[in-house]
Amino acid sequence: MILQLLAPAVLIGIATSGILLATPYLYAALGEMFGQISGVLNLGVEGIMLVAAFAAYYVVYSSGNLIAGLAVAIVVGALMGLLMAFISITLKAEQGISGIGVYLFGLGLSDLLFRVTIGTPTPVNGFPSLQIPFLSDLPVLGPVLFSQNILVYGAFLFVPFSWFALNKTTIGLKIRAVGQTPEAADSLGISVAGVRYLTVTFGGAMAGIAGASLSIALLNIFQQNLTSGLGFIAVALVYFGGWRPLRIMLGALLFSMVSALQLWIQTLGLGLPSDIAGMLPYVLTIIALIFAARQIVTQPTALTKPFERGE
């Protein structure tokens, strides 16, 4: 059984679909990471992704303009992020629960809008794959790595970008400070709320791209609950990766590859019942969380704690 899974075709297959599905995870998880590092847990990513996925899909459906679709997804995602920021930062609501509210709201809203505007799932032409000259001609690696659509490349470029932004810029310094010791940042005149608004809104915009990557790049369709829990996994990946971009990327790849793996196990007729195989990614995530939880040093200690001066 193991041997069959180690066949080159299978490994390449797993890698290919792993890289594709890692795309929405990367945008959503890295965006969420910024919010969490600054101290805000946004559990509403799933809802934001849904609304943005619909928005992008709708624009592309009605105009065919992919760039406009992506831009609208970003704006819509940012607005939803802003809503989440307002609830959790200004109104200091319990973040785990307000996230569920945003999720339900997004789930309902996206479906509602879809129903009143388009109604039935209709495919659109999404981002075409973009062959990178020369590199895409490489044997094996070429098709896997260098003939994807632009959003896939973008997702992987977002990884070093995030690392750089966090560790090499002044705003990165502020974000980390605000999530670890908001009082310290506050005493230096840094607006804790301001930084958090920024990161959560940015995270929303990224969740917007994540949604768009599904509806106008990977699946090229919209349907009720298109994301099916993807956003929640993205949130888990942030913990999994211990708030570090590279590890989050590894987590995203691992998760999406294990999802592919369990489908391969079925495809090859290896006799593991589909539901049991389907548990693999979740069980794996829990196991990984056990290890991630040990990395206390990087943990944003103020995560989920609203900041109040003088207490």
């Binding site: 010791t181 005493s187 840094i190 990087t298």
Partner: protein
């Protein structure tokens, strides 16, 4: 550059409290003004107003005789006001230079310029004697060094007025001396300083003028050279305060607590207590002196059962308690006054009565078959509140509303109620004003007289000397000397700094 800062008629109300009541205060360049007062007198509130963290209800702030509005720490920094809080405002996961650079405009636009900051920082450090490694992580630094980082942060931002809120509470005598040297150098350079402390000898040593607050009002203003410690205490509390205690000499008998060859790992998984041995006899106070971070906390936690002992033994009345559960240890007649009362000593949201039975709630008469007997609980709580003069509106009041001194009294009452054979008191008076400190000291001395063995861990050398029968100095996880309390402070300081061992 600030020539003078003047607070005029500042009033600040909190729900139910008049924290500042028409306060006037002036400080000039090249001058250190000390602010004195009991706990809750309004010192920190006044300073937070000056630093823009609170808005005053009335009154105004003048800098160089010009009225200014300071509505955020940012404004304060812009005006040249810096504040060093009692609880350091540092990001522990950052390096020193990152902490300094935080929030500054960078010379490289959106990118950090840590090299530039690091260079300028070292210049400043040299000028004022504030040596610290820019690339070290803050969590790795000793408290005294962290404080230097705080000062550097303020100076880097061109602060010419520095507010120092209880800066010495966590320093050793030697560190205090160094710290005062830094303050003097700042004063010579034309900085203005406001200094808050509960320790009168420090006020006498460093300040030029003293302002005393009581109940939110200014009750006295004197030049330091025209006053004495006794007079200041009188102003603050309204009576004389005892700082020296007469007590019977302790008997050397069979010890109650015996620690042998104990090794305990710290948070970073390195040995924090190394092969340490000590014993405490009935009717004796053993004081542990030492700079914080030398293993005192880990020692206390190991005795309390909160931290594993990797080797060695801890016995109480001959029975092994090392690596037993906290519950087991509590039931072996051992009591604790933990270091951080708000964090460890009480459940802030619980009422006074509920906190009074924190360890004994599952015992008769407070509960039977897991069901509470509320009248028994309230009876005991009422008696403790009464006996220990805990000022509280009611037994139902959430304890977080009480003052630190009163919370400390309740903890003391609760622990002594259990008639312990051994009491571990860690920092029992940290941040507590002199009135309450005197009260707590008296209770400890009384308990000693009843034959309880007491292990006193304190960074306040004065306190250790005043209460202990023997003083053990801890340095880097070891006891480097057990000395009589009559040992000169300077010599103790040498032991504490690791420069000398017995």
């Amino acid at each position: 550059m600030i020539q003078s800062v003047e607070l005029k008629n500042i009033t600040k109300r909190f729900p139910g409290v008049l924290a500042n009541d028409h306060i006037n205060l002036r400080v000039n360049a090249g001058e250190i003004v000390a602010l004195l007062g009991e706990n809750g007198a309004g010192k920190s509130t006044l300073m937070k107003i000056l630093y823009g963290m609170y808005r005053p209800d009335e009154g105004e702030i003048c800098i160089n005789d010009q009225a200014v509005t300071i509505s955020s720490p940012n404004d304060a920094l812009r005006q040249g006001i810096g504040m060093i809080h009692q609880h350091f405002q540092l990001v522990p996961g950052f390096t020193v230079v990152e902490n300094v650079a935080l929030g500054l405009k960078s010379s490289r636009g959106p990118l950090t310029d840590l090299d530039v900051v690091s260079r300028r920082m070292l210049e400043l450090a040299k000028q004022y004697g504030l040596q610290v490694d820019p690339s070290a992580y803050v969590w790795q630094l000793a408290v005294g060094q962290q404080q230097r980082v705080e000062i550097i942060k303020a100076l880097y931002r061109n602060a010419s007025l520095l507010i120092l809120d209880e800066p010495t509470a966590v320093l050793t005598p030697n560190e205090v001396d160094e710290f005062f040297n830094i303050l003097r150098r700042l004063r010579e350079n034309g900085h203005a300083l406001i200094f808050i402390s509960h320790k009168l000898q420090e006020v006498m040593a460093i300040s030029d003028r003293v302002t005393v607050l009581r109940g939110g009002r200014v009750v006295g203003e004197v030049a330091t050279r025209d006053t004495t410690k006794q007079e200041l205490a009188q102003m603050m509390v309204g009576r004389q305060v005892i700082t020296r205690w007469e007590k019977q000499a302790a008997q050397e008998t069979e010890p109650i607590l015996r620690v042998q060859n104990l090794t305990v790992l710290g948070d970073k998984n390195l040995p924090a207590v190394k092969n340490l041995s000590l014993h405490v006899c009935p009717g004796e106070i053993l004081g542990i002196a030492g700079v914080s971070g030398n293993g005192q906390r880990e020692l206390a936690e190991a005795i309390a059962g909160l931290r594993r002992a990797t080797t060695g033994s801890i016995t109480s009345e001959g029975r092994e308690i090392a690596n037993h559960s906290p519950a087991h240890i509590i039931h072996s007649n051992i009591a604790f006054i933990p270091e951080e009362r708000m964090l460890m000593g009480v459940v802030r949201e619980f009422s006074v009565a509920q906190n009074a039975i924190l360890e004994t709630h599952d015992q008769l008469p407070y509960s039977r078959y897991t069901f509470f007997n509320f009248s028994a609980v309230n009876q005991t709580a009422a008696r403790l509140v009464n006996d220990f003069e805990v000022k509280t509106p009611s037994l139902e009041t959430p304890i977080k509303v009480l003052s630190g001194g009163n919370i400390q009294k309740l903890i003391l009452a609760r622990e002594l109620e259990r008639a312990p054979r051994f009491l571990l008191a860690a920092q029992p008076t940290r941040g507590v004003d002199i009135g309450a400190t005197e009260y707590i000291h008296r209770r400890l001395i009384e308990q000693r007289a009843r034959g309880t063995a007491i292990l006193l861990i304190s960074e306040d050398l004065e306190e250790v000397i005043a209460l202990s029968d023997r003083v053990a100095v801890m340095y880097e996880g070891e006891i480097v000397g057990v000395l009589p309390p009559t040992t000169p402070v300077e010599e103790l300081g040498l032991y504490m700094a690791g420069a000398k061992r017995a």
